[in-house]
Symmetry: C2
Subunit: 195 residues, 2 copies
DNA sequence: ACATTCGTCTACCATTTGGTAGAGAACCGT
DNA sequence: ACGGTTCTCTACCAAATGGTAGACGAATGT
């Protein structure tokens, strides 16, 4: 069995990510983990500390996943982007919390948010530099690489964290549905980015 | 001066949309409006009623804006899509609350959410039918129209409601920045949808 | 063997929350 | 003038929230 600290972190990630930080009380998290609230406050002296820890862990997990995908991919930029999406897609859909959390940042007390942003900045900078380089080489549609990065992020995050947006068009979550969704997403981004 | 009810609705829309429904207390809304909490509860018997009213109003506002844009646009599908984006973009960025609220739906007590979805379904159905028709005619890239609709929605909503996603790439909100952002968004979607 | 640290707990507490009860002012139609 | 309706208010309340104080048992080092 995982350590109490890890179990708290896990449960908090899921709950914060799906319901929002403000909507989840320490009591709820404690109940989910099956410990007393005081145990939470022992490991994380305040709710804010818990939020910070959850964000740091999520950012780290994402960084690792993306890093591995980039390293394993070929040189073609579209393949590379596809590899990243594929890598992010599985954990993101299985646990909307992951990306959902990042979406939560803008409403968090600034301290925690700044920290998360700081953690992700190198990743973003590298992506932007990569896009710029490939655009210069004519392998991607020419555009503002910073905004393109944001647009890709918005598309992937949006689609992965908003089950409702898919429900209204009649989409049903299933293994096959998930695969189709991922493929449509990839085709969409390929078309959007190709020269 | 607008009626008390409308001022409450306005303030609630902004606060719910930007901070999330659970994070905003009736007291905060009342203070923002400059009225006692009881006045809120007079107009909206419970917080849930207020949330429902806010959602209905937002959905209606969006419907009207989109409807007008569609009616005024030419027949070319890409122009038509562009017209809708342009129409939605201004209110969305000025008031992230509008689209942000819809994003909130998935975490709301189901009753309010179902209502909003019911309100938006005709709009969605029409969009999907339109996409399907244009794809059949070869004027749009062939794909699953339902998922394409979701992807477009995710992209637009994501970019309009996540200032943080833009901040990390160094984007600054300004009249010129906003125009550039909108143009990049349009080019992005055009590329993604063109045959 | 014993003091100490670690992890978890029960018992509280102050504040905030959504909501109730009902008073009082302003505006009606008669 | 006046009884009723509309609107806003003050005064409360019970429940939930984040957090404190400190007891208790199990390891652990000496």
């Amino acid at each position: 069995m995982a350590s109490t600290r890890d179990r708290i972190l896990d449960a908090a990630t899921d709950l914060f990510g799906t319901r929002g930080v403000d909507a989840v009380s320490l009591d709820v998290i404690a109940a989910e983990v099956g410990v007393a609230k005081q145990t939470l406050l022992y490991w994380f002296p305040s709710k804010d500390d818990l939020v910070r820890a959850v964000l740091v862990a999520a950012a780290h997990e994402l960084s690792v996943v993306i890093d591995a995908a980039v390293r394993a991919a070929t040189d073609d930029p579209l393949d590379r982007i596809e590899a990243v999406i594929r890598a992010v897609f599985r954990p993101a859909v299985r646990r909307p919390a992951l990306l959902g959390l990042i979406r939560e940042v803008s409403r968090l007390p600034s301290a925690a948010g700044e920290r998360l942003i700081a953690d992700l900045t190198p990743l973003v900078d590298r992506a932007v530099a990569f896009l710029q380089h490939e655009m210069d080489a004519g392998r991607l549609r020419r555009a503002d690489p910073r905004l393109v990065a944001s647009l890709c992020y918005a598309t992937v995050t949006g689609i992965a964290t908003e089950p409702e947006a898919l429900r209204v068009v009649g989409w049903q979550p299933s293994a096959a549905g998930l695969r189709r969704l991922r493929n449509e997403l990839l085709a969409f981004l390929r078309a959007a980015l190709a020269p």
